[in-house]
Symmetry: C2
């Protein structure tokens, strides 16, 4: 139980990763009441230092005894680590907020986007899952429209940045771009093919159906977060040569008709959303706009005339912030409120 | 009338542009029977030279008298030039194959993709329109499926390379990438925002509906080429930091059910299509695969379980070749056959 204290002992597992670093920065920025921060990582990264409130902190190795006296543990070190250590942390009395896919579809684990389903936090058993980055920004944009007009079907295509894969992928885009500009062919290691000046229609593993796990996350997590198993979702997820910021082309079919103006009005007062939609003045969201921002940017809102009740939207957010670290810290804020 | 000769006098209007250069190269590669080639351009580019069959040719200024004794005129110099000069060329006796948007939706002008609607060439009046790059690759992939299962609705999102805009845009991506890798902010001129490491949901001009002209081309040209006004299309077109090769995420709803395997079998024998679809072995089309290729590559073929009769596809092609120059030269080949 983490409520009622004036400050909290917070562990960050995966503290040296792209999302882990962002989590520490967001805890600081949002003035989360941290009594003491415990940066944890694999043996390989232990001994490094991270900075928190202008003080260097030693990164310690994650072990089964890391969670004694921890109130809140933010995990972002991959599914294997979460599967093994989240239950250990929860058993030791910490509340885990897990950014991996390990626990998201477990019926006993709430999958939470604070603007959408904060109420699901009431029934947690020590582990709370942070949704996938591409799902978070989609549901923040769609929940207000779903409440008003009931979404029946979503067709989504994503343009996902390399920071969603991690720091090594950011280096690979950087070095690959440099190599190509120097007329050398880069040697990819993180991705199966070069990402620089290319598009990879392949995020996470392929399933026998031909879909990737990333595509199924968009379908299954969305239904769980919206609490509506009737919402149909089909997804195509694509990695693009962008460092930070995921973009999504979203087509929705609703039960009740919404005009573009009505959707714009609903979203303009929706929590966590910025409507950025004035194409006549070349106002539409782009990855370069959202880096460092906590809101989900929505633009290109248009009525889809190919069906009676349809809308197209273009939704962009910082995948490291709202898509990961900010959402996790927002959950922590709700827990201690 | 251009049939029945052993070789032809061919003009290329816009000979120094990205597509014009490609047209000249494709005429050479495909051994089009050229008696004499006349590279034409604006006064600004006149005096430059282009190479054809290892010989330099002087680029002359386009004027109202440029088309005397020309059999075939390939235009790729923008809509304004085509509006003004295509009728002049046609009146002088040339057959115009026009790569601009100027004449595409004119009911008296055939809009032709040879694999799809070669028969429409029978009724031309001196001007034939080459469709938009993003439309060509989509209809080549979809026509065989439409014939088999009747497509009712298409939801398409594009990932378009900068070469679709032209050479200056390719330079802008190159210089912009270089600047950012050197920690400088580039100053875009061709695009309203930087394209390097970014995505721009904005291709061609915005219309009052909120759609861009590019998006409406995908809808209107597709219906005209398929010869089926009942096909519904909704599109979102996006510029990505790729030099050459457009990718498209296409969702179709059909009247009759097609399994992914059936679609794969149909497409594997379809003209101009390469099925590149074995995700278990990481085989899926990407821009880097298609540069210099004349075929349309199709992969990620999956049944869309969100509707009874749905499929998702990922379609990639070289926008300068099949998307422009190759399609135009294929039309010329049909005309002289």
């Amino acid at each position: 139980m983490v409520k009622g204290k004036s400050s909290y002992r917070v562990a960050v597992v995966g503290a040296t990763g792209a999302v882990g670093e962002e989590m520490i920065q967001v805890l600081e920025e949002r003035k989360f009441p941290v009594e003491q921060l415990f940066p944890l990582a694999s043996a390989r990264s232990a001994g490094a230092t991270v900075e928190f409130h202008q003080k260097p902190l030693l990164v310690e190795e994650l072990t089964a005894t890391s969670f004694q006296d921890i109130d809140i543990a933010l995990f972002s070190a991959g599914s294997d680590v979460s599967k093994q250590f989240a239950p250990i942390a929860a058993n030791a009395g910490a509340v885990v907020i897990d950014n991996s896919a390990a626990w998201r579809m477990d019926p006993s684990v709430p999958l939470v986007v604070p603007e959408v389903n904060a109420h699901d936090l009431d029934r947690h058993g020590g582990i709370i899952a942070n949704p996938n980055c591409s799902t978070i920004q989609m549901v923040v944009a769609l929940k207000p429209l779903h409440d008003k007009a009931r979404i029946r079907r979503i067709v989504v295509t994503t343009f996902q940045s390399v920071s969603g894969t991690g720091k090594e992928a950011m280096d690979e885009l950087l070095e690959g771009s440099r190599a190509l500009l120097g007329f050398k062919e880069p040697q990819p290691k993180v991705y199966p093919y070069r990402i620089a000046f290319n598009c990879l229609p392949h995020i996470d593993e392929f399933l026998p159906s031909g879909y990737t796990k990333e595509e199924m996350k968009l379908a299954n997590e969305t239904r769980k977060i919206l609490g509506d198993s009737a919402v149909k979702v089909t997804a195509t997820t694509v990695r693009v040569p962008v460092f930070i910021g995921h973009s999504e082309s979203i087509n929705i079919e609703t039960e009740h008709r919404l005009t573009a103006n009505e959707a714009r009005a609903i979203l303009s007062t929706a929590p966590g959303v910025v409507v950025y939609d004035d194409p006549g003045h070349q106002i539409y969201p782009m990855p370069l706009d959202v880096v460092g921002k906590d809101e989900v940017y929505v633009g290109r809102i248009r009525e889809d005339e190919s069906i009676p009740n349809g809308l197209n939207l273009w939704v962009v957010a910082d995948n490291l912030r709202k898509g990961a670290a900010v959402n996790a810290v927002q959950i922590a804020e709700l827990l201690i409120r």
